[in-house]
Amino acid sequence: MPNSDKPMHTLSVYVSNKPGALARIAQVFARRGFNIESLVVSPAVDGHFSRMTITCSGNPTGLDQIIKQMMKLVDVLHCIDHTFDKSVVKEMGLIKIAVDSEGRSEALQIAGHYGCKTVDLTPDSMILQVVGNPAKIDALEEMIAKFRIIELVRTGKVVMSRGQNIT
């Protein structure tokens, strides 16, 4: 879980899709005592480049230095802090819960409230797929915890700027 003492930041990084790029970026954070909470990397429209969304915790003055150090990396085209803008932020979660016929209808009712899909169903378990902002997934996690959560996997945040703004 995020460290509540230190604020969370959301950064988007646009990088050349080259070996070592991720390691270089990870080192910028590790060296300065920042913990990466989540990291999503995927190819951009132009396959020579990758998109990264990084969620991290640490003090804000240190973050300024981290962004500058990332911008210095030859592989990085740009790095934007989306922490305080109104970008679209989404995450997907898969939650496997222990539930049999007795609790199934209540579980499905909660799942329905959060717009979940049931992507796997066995006599004594089900996997719920939830998509939304991270707070929504947190809320579902809390509600569904009355059933035993066997496993929980979250993709980490992805972010995209609205309108003409670049991500």
Partner: protein
């Protein structure tokens, strides 16, 4: 193989030729044989210098680059050959030195399988390079070499590592040797924002006690003449960092010399009393800040730096100018008025008279005496390399630098063992100039094996070993801050350095008495049959002053040996 094709190793040598490379410093080994073979088969004009240890190669390349302003090339093998370069690469990275390190690597299909002499040098060097490559395709070689030189030499320079698996260097290259670069993330626009220049000029116009802080960035950008013109036009005093020595003549009436932990008292007092600090290309290193919160706290701080990541890293300036130093200074000269600084300069001249750098020429033999005498005999014209420690600080104090590229010293990294190989590299780059290295007995023994390289090439270098049989700087700290509990600093068991030199075929001199300094140094300067070494048996327990204890405010500078007990320093090392 047809006429149009060549081996990867041959492509590497051809590309290095295209970049204007004169020398390669290196050491051979199994996985780099194809590139060494290409040195022969291409009949290249590039001269290869076989060193005695890979660290020596990196420091030679470093010294060559600092002394000539040109990028330097290192060629070494995989595994331990590559890891031996880490210290040298880190040294170059900390001091923004352009260097290309080509390392051989195991064959591609063995990577990650713990092959003989396989080391992940690409991964290991990542935090200490400006950029690096692991070459996957032979045809990528021309592009990668071109990009490497571009990256190493532009913006804030730095080392670039190219790791070349043996199958890649032995493979067939059919690519155009003048390949296009493909580095869209690398920005090289360092133009100056005119409004910022006007803002700086305006702040200067209002200042009564302005001070210029000139750093290595000003040196790298070739801003020396521009800086002199600016200081003279506006009548602004100038202090320089350790690596900024020579970017503004230290003998100039406006110069206050080096500031910082062991800088001049007057430079440090100027820092405390100025109302405006114009920093041109210094990164506000912790050796000059003292206590960062109190550094120039009532002054307007202006920071000109080509590296945006340096802005606000240590000190938050009021005016920011991310630009090439020379471009910015040239622009600023157009707009800056003549400032009324007579009173300020007189005030600082008072400090110069009151707190001069000094030492005693009588009694035991002092390092300062030797350095000062060498400075006079060489008329301040030598290209000076130093090692790290007390002698380095005294050399910085007493060997004034009046022109750039004549001061080679490991500043950021503080790498012992740097001095001798750096001096050798400089002598290769500038064979017609006088080269001296001031080294301590500690650092000298870390890389003295390169005496063989100096002897073999008959390089006209003067190796001044300032031998106090101690790791003097640490001993000084232990004396001042740890109630003189010396620990791990007594270098008992030093060899006879003159005999050592002679065993390499190098002329040796001994210097033991203050009365002999001039004569022995003159003999060494007159010696013209290759390198010579002067072993100077100096006072064992002398201390460097002035001194600002690490992490203390500049106001707390010790101009002379303290009479009271001192607290342990709070700053780093």
């Amino acid at each position: 193989m047809t006429n149009n094709t060549m081996e990867g190793g041959q492509a590497i040598i051809r590309c290095l030729e295209n970049e204007g490379v004169e020398y390669i410093f290196g050491y051979s080994g199994g996985s780099v044989i194809p590139i060494f073979d290409a040195l022969v088969t291409t009949e290249t004009k590039i001269k290869f210098v076989l060193v005695r240890h890979e660290q020596g190669a990196t420091h030679m390349a470093d010294g060559y680059a600092r002394a000539t302003g040109k990028p330097a090339v290192v060629l070494i093998t995989s595994g331990p050959g590559a890891t031996n370069t880490l210290t040298g690469i880190m040294t170059a990275h900390m001091d923004s030195v352009p260097m290309i390190v080509l390392s051989g690597q195991s064959v591609s299909w063995m990577l990650g399988k713990d092959a003989f002499q396989e080391a992940d040098i690409f991964g290991m060097t990542m935090p200490v390079v400006k950029h690096s490559y692991l070459v996957k395709e032979t045809n990528d070689i021309p592009r990668i070499i071109r990009e490497s030189f571009h990256i190493a030499t532009t913006g804030r320079p730095g080392p670039v590592l190219i790791d070349v698996p043996k199958d890649v260097s032995a493979g067939e290259c059919t690519a155009d040797l003048h390949a296009e670069m493909d580095i869209p993330g690398y920005k090289t626009d360092y133009s100056v924002d005119n409004d910022t220049i006007l803002e700086i000029a305006e702040a200067l116009a209002k200042s009564k006690r302005p001070l210029i802080l000139a750093g290595h960035g000003a040196m790298i950008s070739g801003a020396d003449d521009s800086l002199k013109a600016l200081a003279e036009k506006a009548q602004i005093p100038v202090t320089n960092t350790l690596l900024g020595k020579g970017v503004f003549p230290e003998t100039h009436p406006l110069s206050l010399g080096m500031l910082g932990m062991h800088g001049t008292a007057y430079a440090n007092k100027a820092i405390c009393e100025c109302d405006l600090l114009l920093n041109i290309g210094s990164r506000f290193d912790d050796r000059i800040l003292g206590k960062p919160d109190l550094f120039c706290k009532d002054a307007t701080i202006i920071h000109i730096d080509i590296d945006n990541a340096e802005i606000g890293k240590m000190i938050q300036p009021q005016i920011i100018c991310v630009a090439d130093a020379k471009t910015a200074v040239d622009e600023l000269i157009q707009h800056v008025p003549v400032l009324e600084t007579v009173a300020w300069r007189k005030h600082l001249d008072g400090y110069k008279a009151k707190f001069p750098l000094k030492f005693k020429r009588q009694g035991s033999l002092k390092m300062q005496h030797i350095i000062d005498e060498f400075y006079k005999l060489s008329e301040g014209k030598a290209c000076v390399a130093t090692d790290v420690g007390q002698h380095q600080m005294w050399a910085a104090q007493f060997y004034k630098s009046d022109s750039r590229h004549n001061w080679l010293s490991s500043g950021g990294a503080g790498t012992m063992g740097f001095g001798l190989p750096a001096c050798i590299g400089a002598a290769f780059g500038r064979p017609d100039d006088l080269h001296v290295c001031f080294v301590g007995d500690g650092g000298f023994q870390m890389t003295f094996f390169e005496l063989a390289t100096a002897a073999l090439h008959k390089l006209p270098i003067k190796i001044v070993v300032l031998n106090n049989h101690y790791l003097g700087m640490v001993r000084q700290w232990q004396e001042l801050f740890y109630e003189d509990r010396t620990s791990g600093v007594d270098l008992e068991g030093n060899p006879d350095f003159v005999k050592l030199a002679e065993s390499f075929g190098i002329k040796g001199f001994n210097l033991r008495r203050p009365g002999d300094v001039k004569r022995v140094l003159q003999n060494a300067l007159d010696y013209n049959d290759g390198p010579c070494l002067i072993n100077c048996e100096v006072e064992k327990t002398d201390n460097v002053f002035p001194m600002i204890p690490a992490g203390a405010a500049i106001e707390d500078m010790l101009v002379e040996p303290p009479t009271r007990k001192l607290e342990k320093p709070t700053g780093s090392t």
